[in-house]
Amino acid sequence: MSYVPNTQEEQQAMLERLGLSSLEDLLTPVPAEVRLGDALDLPPALPEPDLKRLMSRMAAKNKSLETTISFLGAGTYDRAIPSVVPHLQNRSEFVTSYTPYQPEVSQGMLQAIYEFQTMVCQITGLDIANASLYDGSTALVEASLMALGPGGRGEIVISAGVDPQYRQVLHTYAFARGFSVKEIGLENGVTSLTDLKAAVDKNTAAVIVQQPNFFGRVEDMRAIEPIAHQGKTLFVSVITEPASLGVLAPPGDYNADIAVGEMMSLGNNMSYGAPALGFMAARQKFMRLLPGRLVGQTIEEGEQKQTGYVLTLQTREQHIRRERATSNICTNQSLLAVGATIFLAAIGKQGFQELGQLCLQKAHYAFRQITAIPGFEAAFNGPFFDEFVIKCPVSTSRMEQLFEQAGIIGGYPLAESYPGMDNHMLFCVTETRTKEDIDTLVSVLKEVQA
């Protein structure tokens, strides 16, 4: 089983041109002391049909959310992907292409990314955007590094309403790069303005708040912004559920300096959470500080002066700047950015609004139905988008058993990430859930005996 096209005879003919007699002769530069004596201890090769059967069986051991009702969100969102998206995104000229360093034969990918950058600006209300980052969590780190800059301020202030995984990643980088992180507690499920006010000082490089936050709660970004901006601190908005931007004020409107987050759900499969699609948008003045690739529009050198697209401002990047680069990112998430671009083009101006409204209305319907069940209480009181926290009458592990019996996947238990929140579950309802699905969930919850 091999994708090597040349036969043994052809390889022999090539070896002869080299004056060699065997493939082994090509390995002489590898000293014996580091050569592998035996074959690798791996399972034997499988022909394609046998491998497909094996893989299909392995995949069948997973409960696909295509056919299972789920109320999981918490940073990863089930989304209705129009059929046009994968058909176009998976065009092999996109899929099998290299980073578009040769623009003359890469205009398609370059233009798609330029469109992506534009759409990120359009939905965030900010001026510029880059070509993508690994995921929301590392995008948040990149924003922090931008804010920290070379020397200077040394602390990042971050709301505990930011996705717990994102905060974990920030702490990891803080350890390696050497900066400090201060977390701001929550009150009634949103960032404590009192604590935030107290925390921001001259050493604060950035204030980072997620909107809607991990509990789905809508933060009062207009009230947070002046606190964040006191003393030239950067205000960074994190968005993990981009559908919210169809309804909620975008970062540009509440004067954020940088917006980062996750856009995987726009047109890309969940795929167990990754590959994801980190994005970063910012105000114009940060242009030369942005990490990652940027596509710019330009014109032909020749006489025709056609409009074209190129990777630009590459002098910021690691392959040119090396140890003086402010980010080491190289491979990014281009193909997912193409997916998001096609998705946003396909749903368009009107669809993007409708998407937000569908999530909002369906989640609120579910919230009303669930909180009407005796024993199930809203954990917080205040606006939310498409996720909400419910205090259940029994343990979350008991809840999970009940969901399993009912053949559905319920909410996300919060106690591990938020100590003290025993019996609390985060439920998410996106546009993919029908009223029938929600009513199924409600009927399962109604059976719960406290």
């Binding site: 090597v4 918490a74 092999s92 080491n328 190289c330 409204q357 929600i438």
Partner: protein, 493 residues
Amino acid sequence: SVETLIFEKGAPGRRAATMPSMDVPVEALDSMIPSSLLREEPAPLPEVSEIEVVRHYTHLSQRNFGVDTGFYPLGSCTMKYNPKLNEDMAALPGFAHIHPLQPAKTVQGAIQLMYELERYLAEISSMARVTLQPSAGAHGELTGLMLIKAYHQSKGQGHRNLVLIPDNAHGTNPASATLANYKAVEVKSDDRTGGIDMEHLKTLLDAHGNEVAAIMLTNPNTLGLFDANIAQIGRMIHDVGGQLYYDGANANAVLGITRPGDMGFDVVHFNLHKTCSTPHGGGGPGAGPIGVKAHLVPFLPGPLPAKNADGYYWEEAGPQSIGKVRANLGNFGVLVRAYTYIRFNGPDGLRHVSESAILNANYLRQELSSDYETAYPLICQHEFVATARKLKEEHGVTATDIAKRLLDYGMYAPTIYFPLIVPEAMMIEPTETETKESLDYFISVMRQIAEEARTNPELVKTAPHTTVIGRLDQALAARKPNLRWQPGQEVTH
């Protein structure tokens, strides 16, 4: 031929995809969200019909080169054939439509795949454990350096702040070192062998041995040359208390032949989108798992896939873990493809991959040598570096010009001007999946271009001529950056 932007298409009120029906009772928006937090103006996204979306992105795809359309003689990036089988496996509903927070019971197949893939990669690299979290090679590098940092700190060696990096290394190496708060120190190459200059290394270690946290190497290096001193280098670094980091970008040369762990490395990253045939997707996604020797295992990010009598589960990281380096569990969609590739090839197949990649590279090196001097006239591994120095000196034709002219012949260009130590460098890696005919065509075209350079240099210097667009004004792009479309914008400038 220009394809206008999607924003320049359509008309107010047009739409393509339809949304699910609103099947729940509808409440007033501002009864749920305070007006001050609502969006005032809808995002000015395109308003286009479905046929416009389809034609637009179909046209864009047609304006893009990929492995499926032709040969990429592109060094250090291993643009090999991307099997369609991999794509189909990643698209299986049980892999494509699962949520990272699903209970372990409902994703046994996914955890099993990651559990087994970890072990395969550990075997291929001769490492104790592997984390699948890093999203790409550079991310793996940084993660690896974090592990080394945590390790040194645990040993009371937190002061070690130097990372040695050869002068021909990938740019990510020094950039990663900086991000991990290390100081990158350049190690010279040996003019003769292309490997590490052992004298220089010794000098550095003698002077700063106690400050060295690690050395970052790729072997074969970016010249495509295997450093025969690798075992000795390992001993020298370990002797001063440093760690060895293996940049896996060139792993396509070593599968089943030699293993980083056996060479003495402590940490290794894989570029699954290079070595394991997952597609580059125009610049990503990739996946950059890292393998580590036993002494570094306690520091790995968690969780790690594990197995007991009840099945597969995620084991949380221990107290010494550096913590997570990204949200969720790693680029699963990419990992499925890599797993498929390894199972398809098996141990013998993987070795045949590397041997064939090496053969193809040497064949090109040999056949091109009359027109393009090889930087180091030695048996290379999976790639080699040729130089256009002579053509530049004699005819003013640069590596860029040759690269552009290749596009006219339906091929991509080599990596040029890298490594930095070779003037007018052209780094050429054919990979094992090219046919002899494809290589022979490349050879004939390269010879033709050399001839053109000698007889009609202007033709080469103004190339490409047959592409949808000619050379673009890069300086203008950087001087007056236009990074997004704005309403009313006609053309850039």
